[in-house]
């Protein structure tokens, strides 16, 4: 990678700071409508979810459609720590993420032996089981939901999102990340080259689950109430659409997908049926005409702005 600090990362950092400052400024000046503020925080939550799902689906080439299950575990765990034990927010978020990662590890251990469709169905089944467990748990309110005080602010959501994306990005460009990519490209070849494919698949799955749990924790501490129904297959599908739309294997693509889909959903929130019909058509058309997604496996970069941009550098917009 060459130098640690280059033009690209400076530009990215400045961009991130600028986005934060503009939103924080308008919140402080009280000119941001509450609906917009809600959407912005949801964008942050969905960016964490889509980049972490991309790590599993796009980078490692496994096909998980039970991401909402991990989100639910993180959300409920964080809510339990905050409400039942009066724990601090940071601890709650961490607990949610860790328990979710543990669940990912335990689920990944047996199911990651499965391939393609079968893995997809197993993860879907897992997601539904998690939801039904919470539905039947009176301790966390069952079907009527679990109220949690709102403690997440824009600052929390935004910086947790940035940290998550940076960690996932660094993972992808590390030795482990390259191993994961080799599994995606050809699992048998990777195995022959001496890569412990099971280990890396479980590693990617666990990290993905960790961040999904974190996103769930943020969600729980922002939305006042969490209900099992929120974490149904529909939520997993929403996250999947973001990843696929942006391009399986492209981190910036996932970010783009999350931003576009959250804004579109917010704009169509008055017509929920239309939102889903449009999403579904978009997905079908996309798969037929551009199955790689908007960015494919490429990363969006600002390199065209500089003279000699770094290849594969990631940036956020």
């Amino acid at each position: 990678m060459g130098k640690r600090i280059n033009r690209q990362s400076v530009v990215t950092l400045l961009g991130v700071l600028l986005v934060y400052a503009i939103v924080q400024g308008s919140i402080l000046m009280d000119i941001l409508p509450p609906f917009v503020a809600l959407t912005l925080i949801q964008v942050c939550i969905f960016i964490i979810l889509s980049t972490s799902l991309n790590l599993i689906n796009g980078i490692t080439g496994q096909f998980s459609i039970g991401h909402a299950g991990f989100m639910a575990i993180g959300a409920y765990m964080a809510a339990i720590v905050v409400v039942k034990f009066q724990g601090p927010l940071m601890l709650a978020l961490l607990a949610g993420a860790l328990v979710s990662a543990l669940a990912g590890f335990l689920i990944g251990l047996p199911t990651l032996r499965l391939k393609g469709d079968y893995l997809a169905i197993a993860t879907l089944g897992f997601g539904e089981i998690v939801r039904i467990i919470f539905l039947n748990m009176e301790y966390v309110g069952g079907a009527s939901g679990f109220s949690v005080p709102k403690t997440i602010t824009w600052t929390w959501a935004f910086w947790l999102m940035v940290i998550s994306v940076v960690i996932i990005r660094n993972f992808i460009y590390s030795t482990h990340g390259r191993a994961c990519i080799s599994i995606r490209e050809n699992e048998i070849a990777a195995d022959v080259m001496g890569i412990n494919t099971t280990k890396y698949k479980i590693m990617a799955f666990t990290i993905g689950a960790f961040f999904a749990g974190l996103a769930g924790g943020i969600y729980a501490n922002y939305l006042y109430i969490i209900q099992p129904l929120t974490f149904s297959f529909l939520k997993s599908f929403d996250i999947l659409v973001m990843v696929v739309l942006g391009g399986l294997g492209s981190l910036t693509g996932s970010i783009l997908g999350a931003v576009v889909m959250t804004v579109v959903s917010a704009a169509l929130s008055g017509w929920p049926e239309w939102r889903l019909v449009i999403t579904a058509i978009l997905l079908i058309v996309m798969m037929i005409f551009r199955p790689k997604g908007l960015l494919g496996t490429k990363e969006f970069s600002l390199s065209f702005l500089g003279k000699k941009g770094e290849k594969n550098a990631s940036s956020k917009d």
Binding site: L276, L283, I284, P291
Partner: protein, 296 residues
């Protein structure tokens, strides 16, 4: 002791009724998977469309059960073929993941498109059967139970005859065995795949009408959970294997009614998915499946 036996027998009756629905839907899943290796996520929603077609036929057109069933089957068969031609055919050579995502997309399109067309509210199925209830030694058998089990058995026999003895059935088996070799032998692969979708969707529609009649209400999202469970049934029996789907469907129906009978009805769905995960981990090829070694 007599009471326990009665309860067990009662749950068997309920389980067989429920299982016949799962079996009918599972047959479509398994046939489509057998022929193009695609999990047709939209299959449960095709069943929903069939249920609505049957509802329309009985309420607006005032038809009796059998004509309504036939109309629903025809409507769904056409829908199934259209879905295949529009959404799945362009992706036949694409990655499995791409077609799986498309199938999920089609499923959501039917569910929420359906909501736009028929509104999300529940519809009540008119009583097409007499309310006759037989009490055989304490076991309650409804008229609907008999019709449901009989209809599905007749349809399964019909399917068996078609697949085993007709020309199109032979073509189906050939395409599912080796797509390219079948093409070289002069089989019209496209038409065969369309026929598979048509038959599978018609069976799903029959299941949809039976479900509407049995449970009285239908809504645009009614296909999701039975669809997923029918998929569990198909995997349980060994996906791609027709008798496997029937056995898997009845097994799942029986398991569910016993779980409900034990007073844990809210856990019913979780048990179905647990069975799925266990089957996938222990014997992914299903009860009737053979292990096929993967070649590099």
């Amino acid at each position: 002791m007599g009471n326990v036996t009665e309860q067990v027998l009662q749950q068997i009756v309920n389980g067989l009724s429920l299982g016949s629905i799962y079996a009918l839907v599972a047959l479509g899943y398994t046939m489509v998977y057998g022929i193009i290796k695609l999990i047709n996520f939209a299959h449960g929603d095709v069943m929903m469309v069939g249920a609505y077609a049957g509802w329309f036929a009985t309420t607006t057109l005032h038809l009796s059960f059998i004509p309504a069933l036939l109309i629903a089957m025809v409507v769904s068969a056409i829908l199934g073929v259209l879905i295949e031609r529009i959404a799945y055919k362009p992706l036949r050579n694409a990655t499995r993941i791409a077609s799986l995502i498309t199938a999920i997309g089609v499923s959501f399109f039917l569910e929420y498109g359906g909501m736009l067309v028929v509104s999300p509210q529940m519809r009540t199925y008119p009583p097409v059967f007499p309310d006759t209830i037989w009490n055989v030694g304490g076991i309650i058998i409804k008229y609907g139970d008999i019709v449901m089990i009989l209809t599905s058995i007749i349809l399964m026999i019909l399917l068996h005859v078609i697949v085993k003895y007709s020309k199109i059935g032979k073509a189906m088996r050939a395409v599912s065995f080796d797509n390219e070799a079948a093409l070289l032998m002069g089989i019209n692969v496209n038409n065969t795949i369309s026929a598979t979708f048509a038959i599978g969707s018609a069976l799903a529609a029959a299941a949809g009408v039976l479900m509407g009649v049995y449970f009285n209400t239908i809504n645009p999202l009614m296909g999701i959970i039975p669809g997923l469970k029918a998929f569990v049934a198909a995997v349980l029996g060994g996906i791609g294997i027709i008798p496997g789907a029937m056995v898997g469907g009845f097994f799942l129906g029986l398991t569910e009614s016993f779980v409900s009978g034990l007073g844990a009805s809210t856990w019913r769905d979780a048990v179905a998915f647990l069975i799925l995960i266990l089957v996938l981990i222990i014997k992914p090829s299903g009860l009737f499946g053979k292990n096929i070694r993967e070649k590099v």
